[in-house]
């Protein structure tokens, strides 16, 4: 998390305020060699069309996913990535992107699998930065490659596999389905306006609460809602308890990384995991329970 806290963010009352920085915080550190700004979007052409000066692109498909199997990159590939973007273990990485930081939190989550904890998300992402008329450039920065030694990827703390979800179900643990109500009820097999990426069955994992991920963001500028507003949604409305283990899921684990971030860092949930297999796995499994 960011070591220098941001007054603008502190006022929002988050459990771990260092996990979020404001656009002004970033603007003040464009030339700070200890800070690396990372843009992650759904459309990889968005970054080259214009980005925050000094920002590098980390693409969720090409940089974070294993090129062959459905998994994330290995320790060696992560080390190469960090070397390429000039990051050392001491560098604070700040993620931002389009769609209310949906992909930025996904990249943040993958970085946490390798325990790069000096990390934060820029509140409001690309939308807020542009709305404020802040500078953009097409110039792609070059950084001196670093020697980055990463630990082996540790999935156990923040990533759930299907066996974990089964066990969680048996323990009557809480799940949050962050997809749209139409996907949750099985009316759709995919997000509105998105293609079906292969789920054979519709519905949700039994007992899951439905809290669409975007409820955690202010639509006008993409910023995270304040802690009080988030507590109203997740604690009061859904009855989630920050001390209980929670698993979030969506379609392939990207939208749910946003909710994972909100629960863990903004509301201080102690044990929250992202099930990245999500509906494209669960909706295809044979003989698993499904509710509609």
């Amino acid at each position: 998390m960011a070591e220098v806290l941001d007054r603008e963010v502190l006022d929002k009352g988050y459990a771990h305020p260092g996990a979020v920085v404001s656009t002004q915080w970033v603007a003040d550190r464009l030339n700070d060699t200890n800070v690396r700004i990372i843009e992650s979007n759904e459309d990889p052409l968005l970054y080259p069309s214009g980005h925050i000066p000094g920002a590098v692109q980390v693409d969720w498909t090409n940089d974070l996913n294993d090129p062959v199997k459905r998994d994330y990159i290995s320790r060696e590939a992560f080390e190469k990535l960090m070397s390429r973007i000039g990051v050392t273990p001491e560098t604070t990485v700040v993620f931002y992107g389009d769609k209310n930081n949906w992909w930025a939190t996904y990249a943040f989550w993958v970085f946490q699998l390798f325990n790069h904890t000096r990390a934060a998300v820029m509140d409001g992402g690309r939308l807020k930065w542009q709305k404020e008329g802040r500078p953009m450039t097409k110039e792609v920065p070059q950084f001196q490659p670093t020697q980055y030694r990463a630990p082996e990827r540790n999935d156990a703390q923040i990533r759930a596999f299907r066996e974990d979800v089964m066990e969680h179900l048996r323990n009557r643990g809480r799940l949050v389905d962050v997809r749209s109500p139409e996907e949750y009820t099985g009316k759709r097999l995919h997000m509105e306006s998105y293609p079906n990426e292969g789920a054979l069955r519709g519905g949700h994992i039994p007992g899951a609460a439905n809290v669409p991920w975007s409820r955690a963001a202010n639509p006008e500028d993409g910023t995270f809602r304040s802690a009080d507003e988030l507590k109203e949604i997740y604690l009061k409305e859904q009855g989630l308890n920050p001390k209980d283990p929670v698993i979030a899921y969506c379609r392939i684990g990207e939208r749910s990384s946003h909710t994972w971030f909100v629960l863990k860092y903004l509301l201080g949930f102690e044990n929250v995991k992202n099930y990245d297999g999500s509906w494209t796995e669960w909706g295809n499994l044979v003989n698993v329970p499904i509710e509609k």
Binding site: N41, E42, D43, P44, L45, L46, P48, S49, W60, T61, N62, D98, K99, R126, V140, H190, M191, S193, Y194, P195, N196, E197
Partner: protein, 149 residues
Amino acid sequence: MLELPEKLRFLVETMASVQNQNERVQMLLDFAERFKEVPEQVAQRPFPEQNRVAFCESEAYVWAEEQPDGTAKFYFAVENPAGVSAKALAYILDRTLSGVPLDQVLRVSPDIVMAIFRQNISMGKGMGLMAMVQTVQKLASDMIRNKHQ
């Protein structure tokens, strides 16, 4: 890949010949910047749902206007300002399929999307862009059917 109309084949072959990733990205960005939205005399906001491309999260719309020679002029709108890839593809489809015999338009494989964008596209995004090609083909098909009625 099935046979392609000449201009589209030339573009796909040109993109395939560009090995440098940055050069390919620059070409695609250049296409996106040249994209011109559907003129007001053809369509005005709010755009009708029937012209919307299904499964394209960039909120792309397509129109086809019949030309005197029996071909079509295709028009596009991309409502998502971050839909850079959709704008690039819209420009490509207009420049390479407008004015082409409709039966040739129908033979274009939506796989051209993967040939054009290659590693610059995810599976979901690729499917959305392929749907743009399929919408162009549906409009061409409707035009052929109307001619025979």
